[in-house]
Point group: C2
Chain length 249, copies 2
DNA sequence: GTAATTACATGATCTGGCGCAATTAATCGC
DNA sequence: GCGATTAATTGCGCCAGATCATGTAATTAC
């Protein structure tokens, strides 16, 4: 008899979220690229943003929609995805509090290349692209920080290309779990829990594999005692072992 | 008897390049993110750059080297690559005149995550990261344009992730040839020639496939009359057919 | 509560593309 | 010009991982 858990350890912490109007200023102050601004500058910027709540599973926008706005995740997690004609979806990134997504450029006639879905209940702040451009022009240090972050994401995406081109599904899965742990991990009795609902399907879409293959490898990892996992949740128990697998053990 | 060509149509146009000192100002003026500056601003910026020539095949830097400088391709083409422990190399991007690469951030203790090799003889202008940061701070419109370009590259990399996750080698190859045609294509009698030395190995490293598989598919494409290709060169004759293949025909 | 639905597991089979090998063609070095 | 080197082609066996199929545990709907 396997020690498979019957109930998720922690989805209670992830409830549908709405922004209370009062906390917007507080949230904006903690967005990495606004952190260096004064309270009154943030107050000014605050006026250009509007808030919006989304239920878990709801789309923020679809690929092909006219790209008009830039969003900042205030609370919760979203999935950035790309669709294929074959129906196979690819999960490019998971974004959480303080991350931005949507349209950076001011070219009006563009459409979003990706779809963004609320993975948990979320609160998002958004601003139209021109408004954001104005902020970038008015506060050059903000632009530099946004550039920094975009550069880091570019490197991350290039690393993903590398992984998909050169490594096995097992290695990619190990790597993906480690990245998720770094970003969303929370120490618990079961291990370091990845603090969000995370299905085999999600992991398959993140690693460019099928659900079945991911399920098989997750079973192996679990048997080896490296992870503990149930329905829509994963905790890492031996990150060192995963690191070895990812590196080509 | 196949109509395989015995000699490349156009590598004569790609000779080892050195920058003459005189042309630097001219080159900088045509770099996209400096285009909006005045002649005298460019002159000031010019002083922070230094030039360097590289022979075809020479490395500009290796992954793991301390990341200290930002480069701009003044003439020629370079390959941006990532290595794997298994020896399998991945070709992330081909950069040509006006493109930048290297270190954007000012964090001193970093190393380059990629290797950049001169694909042809090239001339590169370079500046230390702090110097570039100072320029970005001094000329905010430059920072915005660099952000624009970085954002576009991020989308390109995400599209590559999508392709690798969801499409066949045949589709990825068709897509890659089309992108190269858009970037480097030059109308010739044989078709639209991709104006750089481009081997099956290069295409394999760009598509995450093996040389043999690429060779086989290139033969198919050639038999179908969609491309014409020889030793280190490729010309596209029917881009519409390739587009159909890429889209899932 | 019970039925319907959704997430996960695992076995059996099939295949796109890899790995290896042998041959041919173009280019380089002297 | 001629051998040495590098690029490309093509055949063949094989395997990682996809696909298909079936079963079961957890969750949702009522």
């Amino acid at each position: 008899m396997t020690t498979r858990r019957k109930s998720p350890v922690e989805t209670e912490a992830i409830q549908p979220q709405m922004c209370s109007v009062d906390v917007r200023q507080h949230i904006l102050r903690h967005v990495p690229f606004f952190a260096m601004l004064s309270e009154e500058d943030i107050g000014r910027i605050n006026q250009s943003f509007r808030e919006q709540g989304f239920e878990a599973g709801e789309p923020i926008y679809y690929a092909g929609d006219p790209a008009a706005r830039l969003y900042v995740v205030a609370a919760g997690k979203v999935k950035q995805m790309r669709h294929s004609l074959t129906g196979q979806d690819v999960l490019l990134d998971i974004l959480s509090e303080g991350d931005f997504f949507g349209s950076l450029s001011i070219l009006g006639d563009e459409t979003y290349p990706d779809t963004v879905l609320a993975q948990t209940g979320i609160c998002a702040l958004s601003i139209d692209s021109e408004g954001f451009r104005e902020i970038l022009q008015a506060y050059p240090p903000v632009a530099l920080e946004v550039l920094n972050i975009t550069g880091q994401r570019l490197r991350g995406a290039q690393e993903a290309v590398h992984q998909l081109s050169a490594y096995s599904v097992e290695q990619r899965l190990a790597y993906t779990l480690l990245k998720l742990m770094d970003k969303l991990g929370e120490a618990q009795e079961v291990g370091v829990l990845i603090q969000m609902p995370l299905s085999r399907d999600d992991l398959a879409a993140m690693t460019g594999a099928t659900t079945e293959t991911i399920s098989r490898i997750m079973s192996q990892f679990q048997k080896a005692g490296w992870i503990k996992s149930g329905r829509q949740w994963v905790a890492i128990r031996d990150s060192e072992a995963l690191r070895e697998v990812a590196a080509g053990g």
